[in-house]
Symmetry: C2
Subunit: 195 residues, 2 copies
């Protein structure tokens, strides 16, 4: 397989995602979560919460693929904190360039497949992308609640900001949005999220 070396170079390049740290803390609050382990946790959730998706017959393998690659652009573009309005202004541009460079390491067919999957995820128009995005929003809320609200408190995030930002969960999963609202209520009760 002549193209095996190109794929190996891609795998070595993506090793750097293990050094991209997110704002969210892992549940023992010992450190921030990195984007590689975050992607693992989301893919695992996609499998286990499949019946919580609004559209029951979605393509689960496609969801998992999307979640495994959705943050790879952060290797070049960095993680943009969900509540960083400034950082979101040029996020799309930075991430597009990153996608071209990093997925560009792959053989042609796979490069096109991965870029298409990443764009589909970002566009949130298909049932698979909506379910994947719901998990991507739900997971940090869950971790925040179970890490003493550390990331929220550090950045002074309010209950309203969390509800507004994450309402989109309902487009992928009404059931997860219900659970997400419980998380916000519980976090507010614990004093992690001011009104």
């Amino acid at each position: 397989l002549e193209s095996i070396q190109a794929r190996i170079r891609f795998i070595l390049e993506t090793d750097r995602l293990k050094s991209v740290y997110r704002q969210t803390y892992i549940t023992d609050v010992s450190r921030q979560e990195n984007s590689a382990e975050h992607s693992w946790h989301l893919a695992l959730m996609a499998i286990l919460f499949r019946d919580a998706a609004n559209v029951p017959d979605l393509d689960l393998l496609k969801v998992v693929k999307m979640l495994l690659i959705h943050d790879i652009v952060e290797i070049d573009a960095g993680d943009t904190f969900a509540y960083d309005e400034q950082g979101h202004l040029d996020k799309a541009e930075r991430e597009n360039a990153a996608a071209q460079r990093i997925f560009g390491l792959l053989p042609e067919g796979q490069r096109e497949e991965m870029i298409a999957l990443w764009r589909e995820f970002e566009a949130r128009e298909t049932p698979e992308a909506r379910y994947a995005a719901a998990l991507d929003r739900f997971h940090p809320m869950l971790l925040n609640l179970h890490s003493q609200g550390t990331a929220w408190r550090k950045h002074g995030i309010t209950k309203r900001q969390v509800l507004n930002r994450n309402r989109v969960i309902a487009d992928g999963s009404e059931a997860l949005w219900e659970a997400a609202q419980q998380i916000v209520a519980e976090a507010a009760a614990k004093g992690y999220l001011p009104e």
Copy 2:
């Protein structure tokens, strides 16, 4: 969905896999790799190297599921270093107990599916399990070569030990076994693996 809370507890429990460190170093050699990010990297490889599997029409979603969960037992049982013969004596027993406890947090149907997947992976009898196992062996070799052989050198691992231990890659992927032998040759040339 009444069982959503049980699945959330499982997700919170598996967050601990991010704190199980393996012997292998990430490629910038700044620290050891943890089992959560390792699982992410393997699932990504499974997708990209699918055509390198000996059996072309295998169930890729099953392979990915196996790889996402294959190390979860380490939360209780710890990571057993590939070349630790002592540690392997009671590995199966420790890991079985861990599987019962951790997957036992899931609703019944999912608990059974996950335990069955984990057993299938461990038994290495199906094409999916053999391909998954090949990736699980190949990946640390690749990382070792690209992290100055740090883990191998630290434990005084020889070229023969690496070849003997990882020959099983060929059962899942002849193409990856060929690439693995190139890795060993290169690592030996760089002085990472003595004869």
